[in-house]
């Protein structure tokens, strides 16, 4: 609770500090706020809060882990944004303020325990993102992306709201526990409930960007700036996926037989469509967008795993998000006028830090041990192994296509033709790369502690 408030207030302060157009100062304030939020979230059970607890927003151990991850990833996005907004200082305040507001929403979406808080979190998460996507006002692609994202996103939200209303109608409660009890008591075949759950699922599929609700992804990723793209691919996805998994594993767990077919369909189609479309892309952002669709497919296996779904998702997301942020940072470094993949030629060969980060991120995304991405996929697939073996085999085949995709990028960037090429990289970017590298290399060690 304190963490949410700290981050929200930091966002407000950031808005005012940003008006001074002193990039360093804004970054410092924002970072301090985020670190403060991180610490208060870390110690959430160890001290007495001055605010009274609100039953709609509670953080269990798993939720705390997700919240910590979200705050950490936001810090990376903020650091990335600093490099960009140092030069273009027109919207500095907007960027830092909005990203913190959005994080507030993400934390609500992670800590929710009733539908009201859930919807509030979802909206607070989404609305700043609609603005952030279009923050480069001069860029027509950005405006297009923003408008597109806003309209389709609002539509999805409306469907979500309708779904919540139907669920409320059939179970008589907003509280997750009470809904669960109502379903346990024999509501599981009520058509109204089923339709409500389906509607929620469709809206969730939109928010996480799974096929068949993925069309906004590539355009929105292409229009947004690097930092916003990194934020969307990591924090937004993390929060939405967690809410998805939490609702369907905890509240609607009686309905698993009913939804599992649809989820499996979405998984397989996302995996294949995502990876195969990504193969054809020449633009880095579009490629990452499709790759994120495919990775969402993997992550959705968590929905089918009642027991370890959330823990597996955490490990998977730390691997995926750190790799993605690292790659986007590298794109930021090499990007010239366009984000064509040809810009990447030889960068890994000429700069060792970029080379190592890039190779390890890509290998982690391809699922090669001992990097975090492997353990995430391993956990997700091994729990699905007993019940959904054919789908696990299909997922493995898809991940081979993915490996080809990432290998191709690796080969381009490690080409020897890049020898002697000069690459300008600021210290902050190097810091982001090192942090991401640490996440990809060591994220799975959390498994050993628990």
């Amino acid at each position: 609770m304190d963490a949410v408030i700290i981050i929200f207030i930091t966002g407000l302060i950031g808005l005012f500090v940003g008006m001074l157009k002193k990039s360093e100062l804004t970054l410092a304030v924002t970072s301090i706020g985020l670190i403060g939020g991180f610490i208060s979230m870390f110690l959430i059970n160890d001290y007495e809060s001055i605010f009274s607890t609100y039953a709609g927003l509670t953080f269990s151990r798993t939720q705390q882990m997700f919240a910590l991850l979200a705050i950490g990833l936001t810090l990376l996005a903020v650091l990335m944004g600093y490099v960009y907004y140092k030069e273009e200082d027109e919207h500095t305040a907007d960027y830092y303020g909005l990203i913190l507001f959005s994080l507030t929403g993400a934390l609500c979406l992670i800590g929710f325990s009733n539908m009201f808080m859930f919807f509030l979190g979802l909206e607070i998460l989404s609305i700043p993102i609609y603005v952030l996507v279009g923050i480069q006002k001069g860029n027509s692609l950005a405006s297009e992306a923003s408008v597109k994202y806003f309209f389709t996103g609002s539509f999805a939200t409306a469907i979500m709201l309708f779904g919540i209303a139907l669920i409320y109608g059939s179970t008589g409660s907003f509280d997750l526990n009470e809904i669960r009890m109502a379903i346990d008591m024999g509501m599981s075949h009520s058509p109204m409930l089923n339709i409500g759950v389906l509607m929620m699922m469709a809206a969730f599929m939109f928010k996480v960007g799974a096929v068949p609700f993925h069309f906004w992804g590539p355009d929105v990723y292409q229009g947004s700036s690097n930092a916003v793209m990194a934020y969307m691919a990591s924090v937004v996805k993390l929060a939405a996926l967690f809410a998805f998994v939490h609702l369907f594993n905890f509240t609607f767990n009686q309905l698993t037989p009913f939804v599992s077919g649809l989820v499996l369909f979405a998984i397989i189609v996302s995996l294949f469509l995502g990876y195969i479309s990504a193969l054809k892309q020449t633009s880095f952002r579009r490629m990452m967008a499709y790759s994120s669709i495919a990775n969402t497919g993997f992550a959705l296996f968590a929905v089918l795993n009642q027991q370890f779904g959330e823990a597996s998702l955490w490990i998977f997301m730390i691997g995926y998000a750190c790799s993605t942020v690292a790659l986007v940072t590298i794109n930021m470094i090499v990007e010239k006028d366009t984000d064509e993949l040809t810009n990447w030629k030889g960068i890994g060969y000429s700069n060792p830090l970029i080379g190592i980060t890039l190779v390890i991120s890509l290998l982690s995304m391809s699922g090669i041990p001992p990097f975090t991405g492997f353990f995430g996929k391993y956990l997700l697939l091994s729990s699905a192994f007993a019940n959904y073996l054919p789908f696990v085999v299909l997922a493995i085949i898809a991940s081979l296509i993915g490996a080809y995709l990432y290998l191709r990028l690796m080969v381009i960037s490690l080409s020897r033709e890049g020898e002697g090429q000069k690459i300008k990289m600021t210290a902050i970017q190097a810091l982001v790369l090192v942090l991401c590298l640490a996440g990809v290399l060591g994220g799975w060690l959390v498994l050993l502690i628990k």
Binding site: S366, G367, Y378, A403, L407, R408
Partner: protein
């Protein structure tokens, strides 16, 4: 533990060294790792397992992080260290060996291989299995022929497909074993579910079959070898393929013998086809490296078929043959490398009469040819002879097929030798051997003849491990019969 950490640290150091230090550093580093492993050998008693990493608790996911070696693993560790030193020595006079990245990658590769041979945990084994792929991929990509992406992708994705199947199998194995410790896995209780066991073993076997490569899964091999730099080919054929054979002996047979009963004859048949197929293709090849690549399919088909007989003497002979093949692979690819280095071609049609210009090379190439056709008093003779005998005992058809390797082997090897060394003189300038090449040929000949005269030295080391395997197999069999 220093056995695995040492090459890792040395490899990382190598990346940051100035160019003129790299070459001596690489050789000294690999020799020091070899020395460490010899110290391990001195203190080793074949009857026992030596655990070099043995955490008491079991971590989530069934991870145990156990590492250690028995005689079998120690032989492979020594082989790895010796071969890496020889490869670096063989490349001494080439530009590649003064490249910091190359030396660093070779040492990292050594680290991954040693980790693989000493891991006693399923997931650890899989991890190192995949990790070996990264340094070799970079070596092939950076130092191989330019524009070889197609062959490279094929190699990487094919082996990755194999590994993923192995991963699936390990996930499946988790249902039959409390954790991934080797000692638990070998006691995996399939509860008489032989079909499940066969499927699980099939996945693991697929990974090994791609790596060996067995007959229908070999298509990645020839293009990869021809595009690779000499050192890369040596690493691939002398060490990486042995990972799969070692995996069969150490992991596959003890874990899933119930299931392997179904896979025994298919694999032996594929091995038999590979023996003949590889040899026939090799006879038609003009490129020396491609020829040796197919020859390798033929040799390894024999070893794989021998391992799948599950008898003690066949497995022992396979181990001798594994070591012999490493010697032969390094030797032959060094010969091809020397010819390519001096003449920029490997095509037999363009060669001829080299023995006249470079008599020393002619002599040593002949010695290597004889080692590879396994004349008596070389290690290959012992290995092949026992394997063929064992295969013949199992079934006469496979025995005769396997025996054809002796004839075919002589045909393609002698043809390659004659075509390049004798015949019409097409080559007039050929720099004879340098000191390091003499040294490599000398060491390899000594090793081949040494193991040929006294193979018992290897067998003594691996005997207890194979006995252990045999006991497990007997246990599995009685269980299945019950």
């Amino acid at each position: 533990m220093e056995l695995i950490i040492l090459p890792l640290i040395l490899g990382i150091i190598a990346f940051f060294l100035p160019t003129n230090w790299v070459r001596p550093f690489g050789l000294l580093a690999s020799l020091s790792v070899l020395a460490v492993s010899i110290v391990h050998l001195m203190n080793f008693d074949p009857a026992n397992y030596v655990l070099i990493l043995n955490p008491a608790e079991v971590f989530p996911l069934g991870l145990t992080f156990k590492m250690g070696y028995d005689g079998l693993a120690l032989v492979m560790v020594l082989l790895t260290n010796a071969v890496i030193s020889i490869i670096l020595l063989a490349n001494w006079n080439r530009e590649i060996s003064s490249n910091a990245r190359f030396t660093g990658l070779v040492l990292l590769m050594q680290c991954a291989l040693l980790g693989l041979f000493t891991s006693l945990d399923g997931i650890l084994f899989y991890t190192f299995w995949e990790l070996t792929l990264i340094p070799i991929f970079l070596i092939l990509y950076w130092f191989g022929k330019q524009d070889n992406n197609r062959a490279l992708f094929k190699f990487f994705l094919y082996t990755l497909l194999g590994s993923l199947m192995m991963l699936l199998s390990f996930i499946g194995l988790a249902y039959f074993s409390p954790n991934f410790s080797y000692f638990q896995l070998v006691q995996a209780n399939f509860d008489g579910k032989a079909v499940e066991a066969a499927m699980i073993m099939g996945g693991i076997l697929f990974a090994f079959a791609v790596k060996i490569p067995l007959f229908p899964f070999h298509t990645w091999q020839a293009p990869t070898y021809t595009n690779a730099p000499m050192a890369g080919t040596m690493l691939l054929s002398a060490l990486m393929l042995k990972m799969a054979l070692y995996g069969m002996i150490k992991w596959m047979i003890p874990i899933g013998f119930e299931g392997l009963v179904y896979l025994k004859w298919p694999v032996i048949t594929l091995g038999g086809i590979g023996i003949v197929y590889g040899a026939i293709i090799a006879m038609k090849q003009k490129d020396l490296k491609t020829l040796f690549a197919y020859a390798s399919i033929s040799h390894l088909g024999l070893i794989a078929a021998g391992i799948m007989l599950f008898t003690v003497s066949a497995i022992e002979a396979s181990m001798v043959q594994i070591i012999n093949h490493s010697i032969v692979a390094v030797a032959l690819f060094l010969c091809a490398g020397i010819i390519e280095d001096r003449l920029n071609t490997r095509n037999i049609d363009d060669l001829g009469g080299i023995a006249k210009v470079a008599p020393h090379f002619g002599f040593w190439f002949a010695v290597m040819t004889f080692i590879s056709v396994s004349v008596p008093f070389t290690a290959g003779f012992i290995g092949e002879f026992v394997l063929i005998k064992e295969l013949f005992t199992a079934h006469w058809v496979i025995g005769i097929t396997a025996a054809s390797t002796l004839v075919f082997g002589a045909v393609y090897m002698l043809r390659a030798y004659q075509g390049s060394m004798f015949g019409p003189t097409k080559v007039t300038v050929f720099k004879d051997l340098t000191w390091n090449e003499y040294a490599v040929f000398g060491i390899l000949t000594l090793a081949a003849v040494g193991f040929g005269l006294y193979p018992q030295i290897i067998i003594d080391f691996i005997k207890p491990s194979i006995k252990f395997t045999q006991e497990l197999m007997a246990g599995d069999l009685t269980f299945t019969k019950k």
